[in-house]
Every structure is written in C-alpha cells, then in structure tokens.
C-alpha cells in the first residue's frame, strides 16, 4: 500500500499578521509552522504503516522551493515518512483548486491507495483541497476523520460531523482528510532528523506536472483586519451580573 500525505507550511495564525501594501496578502516577519491538520495526517500515515507494515509513505509539500523542502524534511521525513515531493509554487497566486490539481497530477505519477490531507490549512481556512481532489480523481472521500482503520480493502473512517460521530466505509483508492482528534502528533526523534537528511526528496515545478491552465479560480482582492470588539466591564458578583443582563442587555 502507498499513502500520500500533505505537508503544508503555513504562516502561524497566532502570530501578529501584517497586510501587504497592495492589500492582498500578508507580509513582514512571518512565522511559519507546519499546518496543524497536516501533522495529524502525517501521524495517521505513520501509525497505519507501523501497524500494518508494507506501507510506503510519501509527503507532498507545495510552495517556496527551499522553505517547503525544509518543512517536508523536518516535519514529515524526520518523523518517519519515507520520502518527499516538493512542488514549487507561489503561495499567493494559488487557490485550493490549483493545489488540488497539483495533487491530482502527483497522484497520477505515484498511484497511491490513500491520500491523507489535513482538513484545512490554517492560513486560508478554505477546507476544500481534499474534497476537490477526490472529485478530480473520481474517488470516494471521508473528511474530518477522527479515526482511521484498514479493513479488507477498505478504510473504516470515523468522522466528526455536526450531529456527532459518523462512520463511513470507504473503498480504496480514496481521500481522507484529517481532523484534530485523529491522533497526537509525535515529535521528530533526533535520529529521525539525521536520517531525514538522506531520504529522497524530489523537486518539481508546475511546468513538470503539465497542468495546462495554472490560473486560480478564486482571487483575494482585499484583506482587512476584522472589526474589533471592545472589552466590557467587570462585575463584582452574581447579583450585579444578573441585574445588568436584565437591565442593560435585556437578554435574560
């Protein structure tokens, strides 16, 4: 079995973000982290490989060539993923659709049985790539996974949905998107960091993948800070809280 996992570098949403002068992206001293959900996807691939053996794991990163390569090595290969692929692309001029088409092109080259993708990237927060990819490939999907098991040529996936926990049986090949409670991502062991330096890492460009039209379908034209919310007042006790919720706010 072969599993392709996502390894996306994101600018840390908890850090201070400055909007670029053209208003269309962020700039300045940006801190980058591995996308949280990709860490869950990577951990899931590693656990399935450890449990079942005979599973090859491949991490895909898309973005600035050098920085993405560094993230794929440190965040995926050092943790135990077998090899990596980096596709060079300008993050600001890609959208979810283009990323999904890059994935589809890599899938055509690698023929994985399962693609495990973080459910969303915590920069754009679109939550689209896994589903777009599944449709481009004509594969079934199980999104927002909190548990993944392999059984008789299909995956049994528990999903976090609005009404509780849903279980789907999905035949392979398929796309699974990882949610936060899928697992607790491991730290890379020191030996892993040394080993990662010697693991294969292919570098590709969008031209190599022959995507045809590489134009995005969705463009950010203007970014702004959200309207803020002012801190209100501290109340001294329960009686004052009730009085103000009834009197001023009129909500109880």
């Amino acid at each position: 079995m072969k599993i392709l996992v996502s390894a996306k570098r994101v600018s840390d949403p908890n850090a201070r973000l400055a909007i670029s002068s053209d208003g269309r992206w962020i700039e300045g001293d940006v801190e980058y982290v591995m996308n949280y959900f990709c860490e869950n996807a990577i951990e899931c691939a590693l656990q399935l490989a450890e449990e079942h053996g005979d599973i090859e794991t491949i991490a895909l990163g898309i973005g600035d060539a050098d920085e993405t390569a560094r993230f794929v090595r440190q965040g995926a290969l050092a943790r135990g993923i077998d090899r990596g692929i980096v596709v060079e692309a300008d993050e600001q001029s890609t959208d979810s659709d283009l990323i999904a088409r890059v994935y589809a092109a890599v899938v055509a080259r690698e023929s994985p049985d399962v693609v495990l993708i973080g459910k969303q990237a915590v920069d754009g927060d679109s939550n689209q790539v896994g589903q777009l990819l599944a449709e481009y490939l004509g594969w079934p999907q199980a999104t927002f996974a909190s548990k993944v098991e392999i059984a008789d040529g299909e995956l049994i996936v528990t999903r976090e949905v609005d009404g509780g926990l849903e279980t789907l049986a999905v035949s392979t090949p398929c796309v699974v998107t990882a949610d936060l409670r899928l697992n607790e991502p491991r730290f890379a062991p020191l030996a892993g960091i040394m080993k990662a330096k010697k693991k294969p890492l292919d570098s590709l460009t969008l031209d190599d993948l022959d995507l045809g039209d590489a134009a995005p379908k969705v463009r950010v034209v203007q970014m702004a800070a959200p309207s803020g919310r002012k801190a209100g007042a501290l109340v001294k006790d329960v009686d004052e809280l009730i009085a103000r919720l009834r009197g001023e706010a009129r909500v109880i």
Binding site: L132, V220, P226
Partner: protein, 323 residues
C-alpha cells in the same frame, strides 16, 4: 442576472434553520444582481422538508428524492446537486458551511468547473465585481475574494446571516435524480449521534460553553445553567480534547461557529481559535478565576470568580427570579 441554487440542510425529517440563513445570502445576491433563487432538497422521503422550505420566496423548490441519497454521502450528493445546477441554469450554488456543506460543495465546484468561496460572512461589492468576504487565519484577517468562473460555489457561515423571513409560496418540483456513480464508493455505517432536548448549538439564542477548567464536573456545571436559560451547551477545544465534552460541542475556528444573543464562557481562557468561533455573539459573559485571561478582552460582562461556586449561585438566583 443571478440564478442562485440553495441546497437545503435537514436532519431527521426536519428543515434545519441554517437553510434559512443561507436563503438570506441568496436574496442578497438577487437584490444586487437581479434574477431569482431556487432551493433544492436531496434525500429520501423528504417531502415534509420541501413543504417547510416552500414558504420563503424561492422561484421553485426542487426535490431529489432517492433511496441512494438517504445519507449525505459526498460523491452522489455532489453529482445530483451539479445536475440540478445545470438543469436550473444556476450561476451560484450555495449551502451552509456545516459539516455537510463543507464535505460536499467542493465536489460540486469541480463538477461545474466553478471556483468556490468558503465560509462566507458577507456579500460585498469589489472593484472586480461581486465578491465574498470570508475569515482567514482563524478570523484574524478578513479577505474579500472574487470567483472568476461563470458558475460560483459558496459555503455560507450561517451565524453571519439573519434567518430569512417567510415570503411567497414556491412550487415544489420533483427532480429525476440519478445518484449512480461508477467505481469506488463510500458507504454509511453508523452515526453516533447525541440526542438532546436542548436547542441545536448552531441555532440557539443562548449558548453556555465550558472550558477545560471544569474538568469532570463539566456537565454538572453547564447543564443546570443551560436548562434554566433554554440554552445549547458548547465547549472549548481543550475541554473536548480532554474528554470532558463530546466533539460536536466544540466551538471555534475548527469546530462550530456561533453568534447567539447571549454567550456564557465558563472557565474558558479565550484562545484565538476559540474566539474565532464565538466573538460575534451579541452579549458575551465570561466567568473565570484568572483575571488575565484573554476572554475578558472580548467579554461584555466579566466575573472573576471560581465557576464551581458562582455558576450554581447564578442558576439558583435566575430560578428564584422566575419563580
């Protein structure tokens, strides 16, 4: 001229209110561009849902009733929605950004060669035409996006739009759904659902949310307050991760996004991720024993106190008022 297709959300034979919030976005697009909107209902035995949504001014309510659509499995649902979009000449396809809409709509977009805007909170006019405002970076930035394709797909943050008021009746039109797909499949196995007499978290006027600090007394503290206020119960990610509350309670950028009239944050610190899911609530009350927690920066009323002591006191005093 716009032709908007709204995909209805429903559960256990009842229309979900988030559909009405989505209809409001459809009406806004129609108001800006002219045209009309349709609603479609997919499922098995969904006549009552169609009836329920037929009083909101849609030009038509299309019903795709088929045994294979009983559960919202993404691939067959996406096929039928895309078929409906083509049949009705839709220029915009939208659905609430709940777990069903998030799962299915991107597949619809691929089928229609459409671009998709996720989790839209506002319809905006941009220099490049009609655009959609949406939160990015966990709500720390708002982005206005334009979709450069003839058909656009939009998932809608329901809490950002008022529920549509009732309007003229709509004809109910059966649609000959063909959900059959060749090749690999996903099969529904089970739903471990929480049955609750409380209102749906996404629809509740009052939400009582608890944090990790409540520990194994999470239910003991939050439930009596929710009962007395007729509120839904929510939780921070930390409380869910540690097993004190079920997953579908989670409020935050990666959980549910709510904007009730009244929000109680009890023993919740107010991490960015959580604030992204509740900061548009009308009135926020924070109860936390640590005055330095960031939740107090967004709260209208803060009470620095031990939740285990003051929440039961709050419950008994509200009860006494109503007695």
């Amino acid at each position: 001229m716009a032709k908007v297709l709204v995909v209805a959300d429903h559960d256990k034979g009842a229309l979900k209110k988030i559909t009405l919030n989505t209809i409001t976005l459809a009406r806004q697009i129609v108001a800006a561009q002219g045209g009309s909107f349709d609603v479609c209902v997919l499922g098995s035995g969904v006549g009552a849902v169609a009836q329920a949504v037929a009083g909101y001014g849609a030009a038509a309510v299309h019903v795709a009733d088929h045994a294979d659509l009983a559960h919202p499995i993404a691939a067959p649902w996406a096929k039928v929605i895309a078929d409906l979009a083509r049949a009705t000449g839709a220029t915009v396809v939208c659905m609430a950004a709940g777990s069903t809409g998030k799962d299915i709509l991107p597949r619809v977009a691929v089928r229609l060669q459409a671009g998709m805007a996720s989790d839209v909170v506002e319809v905006v006019q941009t220099a490049a035409g009609l655009g959609y405002r949406r939160p990015m970076w966990a709500g720390n930035l708002m982005g206005d996006v334009v979709v450069d394709t003839p058909v656009q797909v939009v998932s809608v943050r329901a809490s950002a739009f008022d529920a549509a008021e009732a309007a003229g009746p709509s004809p109910i039109v059966p649609f000959p759904a063909d959900p059959q797909l060749t090749g690999a499949r996903a099969r529904f196995v089970s739903l471990d659902g929480v049955t609750s007499s409380r209102p749906d978290l996404a629809e509740a006027a009052t939400v009582v949310a608890g944090g990790r600090g409540l520990k194994d007394r999470f239910a003991q503290i939050t439930e009596p307050l929710a009962d007395v206020l007729g509120a839904a119960i929510g939780a921070s990610r930390a409380a869910v991760d540690d097993g004190f509350a079920p997953n579908d309670f989670q409020i935050g950028q990666t959980g549910k996004v709510v904007a009730p009239q009244l929000y109680f944050a009890i023993a919740i610190s107010g991490a960015v991720q959580h604030l992204a899911g509740m900061k548009n609530s009308k009135v926020i009350v924070a109860i936390n024993k640590n005055a330095d927690e960031p939740i107090f920066k967004v709260a209208d009323y803060g009470l620095v106190a031990d939740a285990f002591a003051v929440v039961p006191e709050l419950v008994s005093k509200i009860k006494a008022l109503r007695a």
